[in-house]
Symmetry: C2
Amino acid sequence: MLSPIAWSTPPKKYGPWESVVSLLTEGLVKRGIDVTLFATADSHTSAKLHAVCPRPYEEDKNIMIKVYECLHISEVFERANEFDIIHNHFDYLPLTYSALVDTPVLTTIHGISSRKTLPVYKKYNNRSFYVSISDAYRCNELDYIATVRHGIEIESFHFNDKPQDYLLFLSRIHKDKGAKEAIEVAKKTGKTLRIAGFIADEAYFEKEVKPHIDNKQIIYEGHVEPVRKKELLSNAYALLHMINYDEAFGLGVVEAMASGTPVIAMNRGSMPELIRDGETGYLVNSVDEAAQAVQRVASISRKKCRESVEKRFSVDRMVDDYIKVYETILEKCKRESERPWGHYEVLMERPGYKVKVLTVLPQGEISLQRHSHRNEHWYIVKGKGVVTKNGDKIRVLEGDSVDIPVNEVHRIKNIDNDNLIFIEIARGDYFGEDDIVRLEDKYGRA
Amino acid sequence: MLSPIAWSTPPKKYGPWESVVSLLTEGLVKRGIDVTLFATADSHTSAKLHAVCPRPYEEDKNIMIKVYECLHISEVFERANEFDIIHNHFDYLPLTYSALVDTPVLTTIHGISSRKTLPVYKKYNNRSFYVSISDAYRCNELDYIATVRHGIEIESFHFNDKPQDYLLFLSRIHKDKGAKEAIEVAKKTGKTLRIAGFIADEAYFEKEVKPHIDNKQIIYEGHVEPVRKKELLSNAYALLHMINYDEAFGLGVVEAMASGTPVIAMNRGSMPELIRDGETGYLVNSVDEAAQAVQRVASISRKKCRESVEKRFSVDRMVDDYIKVYETILEKCKRESERPWGHYEVLMERPGYKVKVLTVLPQGEISLQRHSHRNEHWYIVKGKGVVTKNGDKIRVLEGDSVDIPVNEVHRIKNIDNDNLIFIEIARGDYFGEDDIVRLEDKYGRA
């Protein structure tokens, strides 16, 4: 599990990507999965922690970001053969190491900071696996193995069925997030609006927000701590989420519903995937529609809001979804050389000869077959078997060898309770798997 | 050859690292060495060019540096198995890919931009090879395989034995480079000083240089084109290089001497490695000493300056030096499995068995030997040989196999004019090379 190093995992205060990584990692460990977490050294986890970056670079300006990014990432790939899957939450840079290892790499695309990073995602599109965090946040130039929406720690949000009368804006103060539109809705409906969040765009705040703050109808609470945030969420009459962009996911939206608070949101980005219109809030297309929706909030069951999140946005559901993705990847990456009777590995192939090691499972047997373009020399290194060669049955043990000329009908069967392992040296002019004429097969492949 | 992508290779105007890469690459190709140059797409080379970055990022601000850096670097490593050596001129980032490939990586450390990048160089110190560009520019926390000083295209510098009377300052205008001190030397000696170079520190220029410019004694020529630069160099009475830091290398210093112009330089950094005191210039410790040296410039033979550069700083010498480094690396990385009779490769090793492919050169023969901990099964895939087994001599051809029990004395000899290749499958409890008791050996190893 490759976490960013901007913040610790989990983050002390802010750090949405690191927060998701932490919830997922702890959830996987609880399921008994062996996880190594690559994160800053001050991170906390029940997984195995591997760290090269001592502190989050956002908290220590002496850390040269580029140096610790590449050291952090290379550590994962240098240990790649210890892992079945590398799950990357670190944006595009790790992809450029991924072709140098055999371990499959899954990348959760938390955000595409710029279209200029797309060339990297596109280059590795065919050999890597991508997860989107909502259907809305898919780039049509990339292929995705799944959408996995984030889960939240629902138990940590207090459900409140008896709210106060205020509307809530909870997000950073920026045009994208629609604080201005939230104020307009409050004024049209005569309701109180509480605004909470850090100022991400000072000019926007000065122009569109500050002039309206009267600390009676329009109240600015500043950048609130987690405890106050949860109070605000559970006591609100409704959350206003009047976004002006296609938001990939809205953690605040889900957290509001978990607290029992319906959400009135612009019908764009991932909002239709988070809110059930008329059931857990309203999807609207304008300030006027939002104002009308405020009048109808009373008809929404706060209990249903909570239940909807319990069903759709729990950490358990997120962990389930990712486990399914991991299983799909492992299935896709299963060696082509898996066979019903066992498996083989090519050790060497050169013009004129090819060396394999074959493992036959207990009671497994390869099909009765012959080849037109190669002879084979078998040497048993482990186990007990019976070789069929032109109708003869020959018992073989470790140290025995058998020669099979071109066109001779042959098979081998494991007659023991342990694996039968033998080295096959083929000589000839063609070694393709299609030079196998199957005359009889236990697994129906003849 | 991994070049930076800040500028094209060679650079159109400025780009010292790319310039060295280009001279080296072209020199290697002339020697018949097969080189692939990884550089911007607008580069020019007689090597094979591989490019992913369309233009130098310094010339196109739309190029997202981090994206093209990692795409550019990963391309080299993804093709690593095509190359005997990867020669990195791209600073520390490529090192973090180097442990994922088997190809040896040589890094010329052109400059360490910050001590904060040292953790990367230190991490890869033991598995990578470093070249310093002067003895002065070595970091005592790193190991270096060699110092290779840059070479210049001497023929492109016009030798002039009849200079004019001015002193020359040729460098960027920055405290490090000592324009202020050059002006002081000129004033103390009453000589004219021509200053050429771009202004790297505007405040320094305003305070220390501009007030002295009178276009009579102190003349500022601006950032000059290559043609004017060469004129200025060959017509100068002496070059003043009054540096205030330990400069790693001074291309301008070498270029001046190539033009026949002696150099008066502060005795620090790489200067003693470039200038022969009293022979091609003077090494000084103060402005006063520099002023005294100006009086003695006439005693320096301009011809000797040129000859010294021809001998010590030609591209040919640099190419020779790098070829020596490449040879040393290839020798160090030579497979441990090289033997006087040929070589072997381990295909697989598991508890209980080990598979090798062995190649015996024409007329080669392994020592007469036995093993205490393993038996061996040999299967010939190419060539003709004679196996000695307990005193018997057995002729073997491809398709033949021989079993050698524990403790049985044996050897194989290639009796043909082509390589003899056989697969060896050993079974036992120990496979170390020290379980070989040599009874007789053609190569004196018994």
